[in-house]
Each structure stands twice: as structure tokens, then as C-alpha cells.
């Protein structure tokens, strides 16, 4: 189980950030070739990302590249650079239909074969940014074996819905729909970016909400948000203690060759064990909640 709480956006045209961003240790780094890059810099940013992906500093951190949509003149070239550069995950923006994922998948497979990369090793993630994308979320989330996640992108979505960003009411249905699609497909779900980097309180409030809903994590625009997010997702001391006991009981049951796990006389089923494993994983990644 790969932890994907924080996905930090880095503008692909910014050489300085590309050279240093790994020090912030987010769970995933997303090099952006789409909205953060001006038309003038599309070609240059693509090459920067292509080479940054091959930098040994990124070997131990999950890399994501947000390409331009495939119906633009940049999309396919971005994809070539990402797959050939060795990216872990390609993030497709503005995904409206499962066919968008199929098209992407076909290109990815061709490029993998051309450059000698193991077929299937490039994972995919779709961002839904419209009513159509939200309605088709299940079909999109299940469109490919390569899919590891689905993300909601708020900015375009609220415009499509003829509303604007507010306290979260405007995203309520979309969040639930995307999350259900992800859980149904067995993949991760990511929430929108929180743009006001100076509003720590607002950020934490939003994190609290999406954590309660069940999102794996959130796209971030500022490194300062990483620790806040990780801490909010960190389990409490009691949760950790309890989870340790659950996992220990499960291990004991396996050693004893028992099909049933019990703790303090109560039966524990598989989802509880899995939950406990995730709790310990988060605790190991960033300690207990402060």
C-alpha cells in the first residue's frame, strides 16, 4: 500500500524548484506541464521535466507528471517526455470520459514499447474537472488496469457548475462521487488544491473534512502545507497502540494457522486489520498527531 496523502505541484518550467523540491518529502511530486506553464515555455519545461525525472534525487520519491490534454498540440509530446523520462504516474487533466483514458493508455503502451520500458509500468491518474467527468467517475476510475487514482480538480469544476469556490458545499456531490468511484475501483482519491497558502486555519478545516470523507490525500501548491497535511492524517497515540495490538493479533493468528483473528475476545475481520496496517504506515511516515 503506497501512501499518497500529499501530492505537491511543481511548475515544470521552474528549474530551481525542480532541482530542490525533493527535500520537502511529499508522498508524491507532481511536475506540472499544464496550467502552471506558459505557452512560450511548454517545450522547455517538457525537457526540464524529462531530465529531472532521470535525476537520482527523484529515485526514491513517487513522481507524477501532469501532461497537457491529448487534444492539444503539447499533450502527446508531454507524454513522450514523461514515459521516456521514467515517470511513475501520468496525470491526465480534464478527463471527461473513459475513452480519454483508453486513448492515453494506448499511447503509453506504444511509447513503453518504443523506449524499452516494461509494458504496464507507467501508472495513470485521471483528474476530473467537469460535470461530465464527475458523472462518468466510475467508468473513468475503472477504465484501465494502470489507474492508481482519481483526482477532483476544483477550479474548472466549479465554473462548469456555474458556481464558485466557497466553504465546500459547492464540491459536496463531486467529492462524494469521485470518492465512491475510487473506492469501487480500488484506487486512491485526491482532493482539490487549497489555493490560499497563507490561510492555515482554512486549509486545516478543509483537510479535516476530506479526511473524514475518506480521501487518501490532497493536491498541494505549497511545501508549507505538507507537514500540516501529514500531521492531520497522522493517527493518535491511542490509535497507534490499538492498531499495533490488532496487527500483532493478526500475525499471531497467522502463525497459529487460525482463520479467525480475535483481540480481547472480540473477532476482528480483514478490513479492520487493513485499517490498522494503514494507521501504522501513516505513523511510521510522520509520527503520531501533534
Amino acid at each position: 500500500m503506497k501512501l499518497r496523502r500529499s501530492m505537491l505541484f511543481v511548475p515544470g518550467a521552474n528549474a530551481s524548484m525542480l532541482s530542490t523540491v525533493f527535500i520537502y518529502k511529499p508522498d508524491s511530486i507532481m511536475f506540472d506541464l499544464e496550467d502552471a506553464v506558459s505557452l512560450r515555455e511548454k517545450d522547455s519545461a517538457r525537457l526540464l521535466v524529462f531530465h529531472a525525472l532521470q535525476n537520482p534525487a527523484y529515485k526514491d520519491i513517487e513522481t507524477v507528471v501532469r501532461i497537457n490534454p491529448l487534444n492539444t498540440e503539447y499533450g502527446l509530446l508531454d507524454l513522450e517526455a514523461a514515459v521516456r523520462g521514467g515517470v511513475d504516474i501520468v496525470r491526465l487533466p480534464k478527463t471527461d470520459r473513459p475513452e480519454d483514458v483508453h486513448e492515453l493508455e494506448a499511447h503509453v503502451e506504444r511509447i513503453e514499447k518504443e523506449c524499452g520500458r516494461e509494458v504496464g509500468s507507467t501508472k495513470l491518474m485521471a483528474a476530473v474537472e467537469s460535470a461530465s467527468g464527475v458523472i462518468n467517475a466510475v467508468a473513468i476510475a475503472t477504465a484501465s488496469k494502470r489507474m492508481v487514482g482519481i483526482a477532483l480538480a476544483g477550479f474548472d469544476y466549479v465554473m462548469d457548475m456555474q458556481t464558485e469556490r466557497g466553504d465546500g458545499t459547492e464540491l459536496f456531490y463531486a467529492r462524494c462521487a469521485v470518492l465512491h468511484a475510487a473506492r469501487y475501483a480500488g484506487i486512491d482519491a485526491f482532493d482539490v488544491v487549497y489555493g490560499d497558502v497563507n490561510n492555515e486555519e482554512g486549509f486545516l478545516k478543509e483537510v479535516d473534512l476530506i479526511k473524514k470523507l475518506g480521501f487518501n490525500g490532497k493536491s498541494l501548491v505549497n511545501p508549507r502545507q505538507i507537514d500540516l497535511l501529514h500531521n492531520a492524517y497522522a493517527p493518535t497515540e491511542e490509535e497507534v497502540e490499538h492498531s499495533k495490538r490488532v496487527v500483532a493479533a493478526a500475525e499471531q493468528a497467522e502463525r497459529d494457522g487460525l482463520g479467525v483473528v480475535s483481540l480481547n475476545g472480540k473477532m476482528i475481520d480483514a478490513p479492520i486489520v487493513n485499517h490498522a496496517i494503514r494507521v501504522l504506515q501513516k505513523a511510521q511516515a510522520s509520527g503520531v498527531r501533534k
Partner: protein, 343 residues
């Protein structure tokens, strides 16, 4: 992760009055004038506040300022990087920049290279180390052997018997003469026409090479109009830059030992340029060897020295009879056909 919060964009100061006012204010804070010849400004703003600006006038970068609240290397680096991209997109790859000597180092950090500097006054820079070197290499291919190699720069606006006399006299005193026609198209007669008239007028002189002018010689880059607040300094500083370029780069490339010039009875600017020549080409200690300045008295017709400015006056008066005495036939024909004002 977001970019620095300053956003850069370009403005047309002649179309956007609000932006223009803000730029003028920032320039004034930095003791610089707003120059009307600037076509485009690159400006950087943060939270609506103007933090930096740089202007482009042809291929000359000017009016570069960063807000005192912001001053720091990174801002000027971003500004000048942005300016480079804007200029390239306009097809202006070769950029010049005038500044004060104490700013030279900062602009060197922004991709500019020093061409010439007058202590405590001004410096001229260009955005490539290959620029002047490429030019000198191309000149060096036209180098001629000889003890005494002459050089003349004429604007020929238009070409007169006065120019012809100066050139012939100089050629007769040299082993070889290199003649340049000012290339800047800022004169009454177009560069194309001026060059053609000079070409026609120097036919038959065996030891002469006619060169097109360049940006490194009497151009808008070497003579910016208004740069410093103290306008009195403009002439002084800029003739020096122009002459230092000739002495340190152009003359060594061609082996020029003597620069010839006609005496100037009328125009104070030209007269000053002649006087400055003696200082900067001959007297002033600098890298290039001294070049002897030879002043040749102007030829006169009916007791009046011939000058291009006089020719332009007569042309305005449509005085063909008087003109016939001052300019060769080819010049007269062109003036009649193309430049004569309607009666």
C-alpha cells in the same frame, strides 16, 4: 508549489496610461527619465505594486529600474531574463544597453558584456560576447597592407562635393582608405540612398574599400539620445563611447592608423565630435593604439564651405541652381526625383 509571486508582463506605454504613469514614477524614484522612444516595457508586479520595469527601444534596452523596496539581485535577474525572451520573440536578438559604470557588474550578471566605458560617466554593453568579435572578424577579412591606413565615417545626408573632396584627399594621403557610411536610418535621406550615392561618388578611387555602417559606429546604440538626467553630459559621454569602439575594435581589425575628418564650420554637434575625436582616438590612454586624427579643410564653392546641412536647406527652398554647384549629378538626380518638396 507556486512560483515567486511577482508576475511579469509587457505593456505598451503609449496605449496604457495607468501603466505608463506607474512606470514613470518608478523611473523617477531611480533617478531615470521616462523615455518616449521606448515601445515596450516589461513590468513586474506583486500584489498590484510595480516592482520592476525595463524598456525596449528598437534593440536598445533602457529605462531599467527596480523598486527600492525590492532591490535585490534576483529581481533584476528575473526582469532581464524576461526582457531577453520578449526581445527574442520580437526578433531582436542583438541587444545593447547603456548604463552607468557602477551598474556594469550587475548587468554582466544578466548576460550583458561590456563594450566600452567612460570612467564615472557611462558604459555601453551588448548581450553577446560574440557580437563585436564577429564584426571585427568580418572586418579583418577586408584588411589591406600598408603603412598608413585611413578611416572615414560619413553620414552623407546627402553626398556632396564636400564629401567627395574629403575622401579623395584622404585617399591620396594613404596606402588604403576604409570608408564607412552611417547605417542608422534616422536621417532625411534613407540609408539605401545615401549608400548608393556614396558608392557612385567614390568610383574610380583605386585604394578604397566602401563599408556598410554598423551598430558599432554612429548608431542609436552608440549615441543614445536621452539617457541621463543631466542632458549636458549626453554629448560628452556618447561621443567617447563611439570613438572608443572605433579605436579599440574597428581600427585594430582593419589596421587603421589615421582617421580623416572635414573641418566643421556650421554644426556645433559635428564640431564637438571632431574635437572629441582628437581626445578619444589620439590622446586618451586606452587599450587600442592611438589613431592620428587628420582634419582636412572643407572645400568651398564661391567662398562658402560645402555642407550637407546647407544642401538640405537649399533643397527645401527648391534652389536647383545653387544645388548643382554643391552636389554631384547622381545626388542631384535623386534629390530631384525623390526628396524635393512639392512646389
Amino acid at each position: 508549489m507556486t512560483d515567486n509571486t511577482i508576475s511579469f508582463y509587457i505593456i505598451d506605454p503609449h496605449k496604457n496610461e495607468q501603466e505608463r504613469a506607474d512606470v514613470a514614477k518608478l523611473l523617477a524614484q531611480c533617478d531615470l527619465d521616462f523615455e518616449n522612444t521606448v515601445e515596450i516595457f516589461v513590468v513586474g508586479r506583486q500584489n498590484g505594486q510595480l516592482a520592476a520595469c525595463a524598456g525596449l527601444d528598437g534593440n536598445i534596452v533602457k529605462c531599467v529600474a527596480t523598486s527600492p523596496d525590492w532591490r535585490g539581485e534576483s529581481l533584476s535577474l528575473r526582469l532581464m531574463g524576461e526582457m531577453a525572451h520578449v526581445a527574442y520573440e520580437l526578433g531582436r536578438h542583438h541587444l545593447f544597453l547603456f548604463t552607468r559604470p557602477y551598474n556594469v557588474e550587475a548587468f554582466q550578471g544578466c548576460g550583458f558584456y561590456l563594450l566600452a566605458e567612460v570612467s564615472d560617466q557611462c558604459a555601453l554593453m551588448e548581450n553577446t560576447p560574440f557580437g563585436i568579435r564577429n564584426y571585427c572578424q568580418s572586418l579583418a577579412r577586408l584588411r589591406k597592407d600598408g603603412q598608413k591606413i585611413g578611416g572615414i565615417v560619413v553620414n552623407a545626408n546627402p553626398f556632396t562635393y564636400g564629401h567627395q573632396y574629403l575622401i579623395r584627399t584622404a585617399a591620396s594621403q594613404c596606402d588604403w582608405l576604409h570608408l564607412f557610411v552611417v547605417a542608422e536610418d534616422a536621417s532625411f535621406i534613407s540609408y539605401r540612398d545615401r549608400f548608393a550615392l556614396v558608392q557612385e561618388g567614390v568610383k574610380g578611387i583605386p585604394n578604397l574599400t566602401l563599408h556598410p555602417g554598423s551598430q558599432y559606429m554612429v548608431s542609436r546604440a552608440t549615441f543614445p539620445d536621452y539617457f541621463f538626467k543631466d542632458k549636458g553630459m549626453v554629448g560628452e559621454c556618447c561621443t567617447a563611447i563611439d570613438l572608443l569602439l572605433f579605436r579599440n575594435y574597428i581600427a585594430p581589425a582593419l589596421g587603421v592608423t589615421h582617421r580623416f575628418v572635414g573641418t566643421e564650420p556650421f554644426c556645433p554637434t559635428t564640431r564637438k565630435y571632431n574635437d572629441d575625436m582628437k581626445q578619444w582616438l589620439q590622446t586618451e590612454p586606452t587599450r587600442g593604439s592611438p589613431i592620428t586624427v587628420v582634419e582636412i579643410p572643407r572645400t568651398a564653392v564661391d567662398g562658402t564651405p560645402v555642407s550637407a546641412s546647407q544642401v538640405r536647406r537649399l533643397l527645401a527652398d527648391r534652389d536647383l541652381e545653387a544645388l548643382t554647384k554643391l552636389v554631384p549629378e547622381s545626388t542631384l538626380a535623386l534629390l530631384k526625383n525623390k526628396y524635393m518638396p512639392a512646389a
